[in-house]
């Protein structure tokens, strides 16, 4: 190439690089004009122009220094990441106005970075939300525990005599799982059936040594007839651990109150015998003294054992030792 042509080519290259190294949002206007003028200059010399190579700013600086004296304006700034940045700008702003696209990898890298940043940001937001949500759940849990503690202390308290004549209160059974049944000894078939069921349940649970032992309790709804001796005779027929509880009418009523036990003595016949109508339910009370669950006539002993097993497994202490 002649010296003139070389100079010319270099100038074109320089201009192209200025294009790529330019900053600012209105660069495309400026660049377009530059490009146009460059193109006009290029066309006559097209056969001389090498393929559009894009040397880095640094290398161009070298070329520039070695070949051309040029005006100081807007020459490639110091940082070399600019063409990279502007490649992005080009992708953003130029709608095909530039005939010299940057290689696809630049736009590709940008996309990946954007994706990563978005994901990180999104992840951050979700993380924050999750943390706040957990805090709220924790708070709700604490409130619930507080409520339960209040209920556990006041609910289902009783003071009765057991079938050995010893006075027992609810406090005596704290720390044990309790199965409670309200009935009476003169019951034709239901109470014996339920107590048999209760016995079977306790026996089944006893077999599983990983579980704590359950304490069955039988509280009478017929204190008039069921005194301590009667209770003693009655409970003998069932599980050895079964404790029968009785007391005065007031004490018995008080005991049943929190469990909403309904009991109504029927009319007395000529023997003075009568049947007491009452709710037929087995109550499960946990070691904190909290009433957890109940089982009616329909549940058989297998179902009840399973349910108790689940409760024991899921049990969380309300009152720390």
């Amino acid at each position: 190439m002649s010296h003139v042509e070389l100079k010319f080519t270099s100038r074109i290259i320089l201009r192209m690089l200025r294009l790529s190294c330019l900053r600012g949002l209105d660069w495309h206007v400026t660049s377009w004009t530059i490009l146009q003028s460059t193109m006009r200059e290029i066309s006559p010399l097209s056969h001389h122009i090498p393929k559009a190579t894009f040397p880095s700013c640094r290398s161009l600086k070298k070329i520039h220094m070695s070949h051309i004296r040029t005006s100081a304006q807007g020459f490639p700034p110091q940082h070399c990441r600019l063409p990279w940045l502007l490649g992005e700008q080009r992708a953003f702003y130029s709608q095909g106005s530039s005939k010299t696209p940057k290689p696809g990898s630049t736009a590709g890298i940008k996309l990946r970075t954007r994706l990563v940043v978005t994901l990180l940001f999104g992840g951050g937001i979700i993380g924050t939300w999750w943390y706040v949500y957990q805090e709220k759940q924790q708070k709700i849990q604490m409130q619930r525990m507080e409520q339960l503690r209040k209920v556990a202390v006041g609910q289902g308290d009783f003071s009765l005599l057991d079938h050995t004549g010893q006075r027992r209160t609810k406090r005596d059974f704290l720390g044990r799982w309790v199965l409670l049944y309200f009935g009476f000894t003169h019951c034709p078939d239901i109470c014996p059936d339920e107590l048999d069921k209760l016995t079977n349940v306790v026996r089944t649970l006893d077999k599983d040594t990983s579980l704590p032992t359950v304490q069955p309790l039988f509280i009478t709804v017929d204190p008039e007839r069921d005194d301590v001796a009667t209770m003693a005779k009655y409970v003998k027929d069932f599980h050895p651990r079964l404790i029968g509880l009785t007391g005065t009418a007031e004490e018995v009523k008080q005991a049943g109150r929190d469990y909403r036990v309904y009991a109504s003595a029927g009319p007395k016949d000529e023997d003075g015998d009568y049947i007491v109508d009452h709710t037929i339910i087995i109550y499960l009370v946990n070691p904190d003294g909290l009433f957890l669950d109940y089982y009616n006539r329909i549940k058989n002993d297998v179902q009840i054992s399973e349910s108790i097993r689940n409760h024991v497994k899921n049990y969380v202490k309300l009152f720390p030792d």
Binding site: H186, P188, D189, P192, T230, K233, Y234, G266, D271, D273
Partner: protein, 79 residues
């Protein structure tokens, strides 16, 4: 009469079951099951007899409802 213990209860229940079996065979004709009736009344307290009679009626009724269906009463809600 004081409350029956387990063996007493069992005796009563067995007598009751016998009576009911007899009544099922003879379509509730109490005349045919006199013997069972007397045994039943001897072994069980009076209250229990009354109770078991009512219970039998209830069980029969329940069976009828389950097998034959029922007519909803007039003016029942049209849900």
């Amino acid at each position: 009469m004081s409350a029956l213990n387990a063996s007493g209860r069992k005796a009563c229940w067995d007598a009751r079951d016998e009576l009911w079996k007899c009544l099922d065979v003879h379509q509730d004709q109490t005349s045919a099951c006199e013997k069972h009736q007397r045994e039943f009344e001897a072994k069980c307290p009076a209250q229990w007899v009354k109770y078991f009679v009512k219970r039998r009626d209830f069980l029969k009724y329940k069976e009828k409802i389950q097998n034959e269906g029922y007519e909803p009463t007039e003016g029942a809600s049209k849900l």
